[in-house]
Symmetry: C2
Subunit: 442 residues, 2 copies
Amino acid sequence: MSNRIAPLSGYPEYTPAGRIVEQRVVDMLRETFELHGFAPIQTRAVEPLDQLARKGEITKEVYVVRRLHAAEDATDELGLHYDLTVPFARYVLENAGRLAFPFRRYQIQPCWRGERPQEGRYREFWQADIDIVGQGALAPHHDAEVVLVMLEVLERLHDDLGLPSVVMHANNRLLAQGFYGDLGVADPLAVIQAVDKLPKIGPDGVSAMLAALGLSAGQIDAVLALASIATPDEAFIERVRALGVSNETLETGLHELAGLMERVAARFPGRIVADLAIARGLDYYTGSVFEVVMPDYPSLGTIAAGGRYDSLASDGRQTYPGVGISFGITRVLAPLIAKGTLGATRPVPSAVLVAVDAEETRGTADGVAAALRARGVACEVSPNAAAYGKQIRVADRRGIPFVWFGGQSGQVKDIRSGAQVDADAATWEPPAGDARPRVVVA
Amino acid sequence: MSNRIAPLSGYPEYTPAGRIVEQRVVDMLRETFELHGFAPIQTRAVEPLDQLARKGEITKEVYVVRRLHAAEDATDELGLHYDLTVPFARYVLENAGRLAFPFRRYQIQPCWRGERPQEGRYREFWQADIDIVGQGALAPHHDAEVVLVMLEVLERLHDDLGLPSVVMHANNRLLAQGFYGDLGVADPLAVIQAVDKLPKIGPDGVSAMLAALGLSAGQIDAVLALASIATPDEAFIERVRALGVSNETLETGLHELAGLMERVAARFPGRIVADLAIARGLDYYTGSVFEVVMPDYPSLGTIAAGGRYDSLASDGRQTYPGVGISFGITRVLAPLIAKGTLGATRPVPSAVLVAVDAEETRGTADGVAAALRARGVACEVSPNAAAYGKQIRVADRRGIPFVWFGGQSGQVKDIRSGAQVDADAATWEPPAGDARPRVVVA
């Protein structure tokens, strides 16, 4: 095989210790989602290119996939999915007859985007999505449900694995749409997309964008006044009312956001803010919108986001409204693992290295290992029958904490402390903290 | 979003029940590999195109990946990996300074090949690979080790999940090379690759290929005589000796294969055959070669394969010899799931649907659900507050076996039997068999 080594910018890869961190995070996501009744699905990596279009336009970031010698005019062009929403929408339509609605699914897979690589932005990145999708209709209480599930797992990742703590910013599109409508704004979605740029370009930049859209100075002031409202409770309602605007759409938005805040803040106080600057650039959101940040790591940007959509997909007869949130696993983990902030207690599953006296008695060591494994103790047999001191160094180099000497009834040494005790392979167990590699924070 | 539905031939996708089967299989692979001290790694989906070359030639089956508007003459062309060996070889070279050798890793990921789709052949397919790789040298006992680990997990998949039973066919390249060398064959690898075609084109077809390579009728007879030897024990040695050929390479091959057979047959009698027709087409194998089949499902073909290679990779200073086996997860599961041979007891994780009396008391149901989840009971709260009969039908349609009525101290109904009993959300548990969906054989 070739001997060319080619690290690729934007395609993070981990050493085994880093992969162990990622696995634990994925396990915790999966466990929490399943406790809440979300069913697992996986979709293929590719979609027909026209499925990957946004508003009819295929973005430059899409990776096209083609067989090496495919004809230039091949019509079945495929692209790698850039999120898990587009493939999920297609999956729901394709399987609608076999799914029970409301359909609750989680999906944890890599996505690909040909963006310029930078911290938190990768060309290959794992996402974990949950969505609840109805057929024809979906009750509003599911908005708070997906928020609570995502905050629950992010709390667990913080408490149990030491990931940074989070704050969710929530808004409601109806609130902004009603407000902008009352202002007499012609294209509310364009205004929403301009407001979405606030964190990047600031109020002056957004003012200029809004002016270019034809908004008057008074309209621009009102839009920025609305976007400046952020409260950890329902106080946002009074502040919106103080702006002197009122209509039915706005009231519906205020009511939905207040209901969400009440339910979520009761369970996770301090973890949610009603933030009327939250816009989300995507055109398909029609109600609640969410963005999650890690305040201690602002450079990571938005680490999870989502919202309510009236029509995830439509097959012409039925529409499928839903609500969902996507967590950017790689966006969070790749920088923290690369910096050494998150690591594992050891880079191998093995808790024990079983020493070998001589190649002729390797079978004895195999028997000890089999007895340990039968009770769930991960172990490996020494690759050689060198002097014990050398075999201990093998364990040390691999990060394995215990070395076993002798047969089933033998001795086990903790190579960190040097303590060596008699042990029976049919009963001995490592301390719980050493059973498997653990995630540790530097 | 677009409403076009496009199933793609060769890209299998499962319903949630099918994905539950696949998850259980992957969990069991991972658990077994980790018990044996194999560390997890994942590699990116893409490699530089020249890395994907075989003998300098890039096969037509490779999928090229390119940004939509990339320049035609872009030099950083990438392709999707078609196996996990090529990326692993690159990973070892790239990380050699940070890995402890012998390095033991497992890797479970999708691969892509633009083959003509047919049963057991897919364009996107999951593989599970284990390899043990040394730096400079690797002891021969690792050959039997990877075989034992793979057979152990295949036995567990058979015993615990009901997958079909397997038989491994083993051979050794040195045996064939020594034998062919003694026959005076000019290009032993070409002969090995012809013999590899035996199952497909039969002895007559292979004879014709060998004749085209310039072999005499006597040489062809000898090659086919060697390939006809298959014994469940070490009897193959006598049958090879009866062919009247002997040299050092052949003897080494006989000795290595006999050692492997002895160790493996002792642990898994009936699961291994010394089969001198096993060749493997790939040029990088240099000793042991393995192929695993499911005798009750011959149409699935080879479901796992691997062998020993003297040089997985080389960085010019060091070579990295190794031994490994790859299991074709999708090749086995996709046909068995599609036919309904393998399924799950239910398509959702939830064991319980918590009924809602009225939207105003949804909080009570949320509390019951939280109490159940705190003890690991997967559940979901009813999407509506309809009449109890309708909520029971929601559970029935979703395959959820239990419905909870009332508050923390309430009643739980097994909707299959109709039995309803008092229960406390702080203590009640479903029967172990209902806790999570289980894999079932039709």
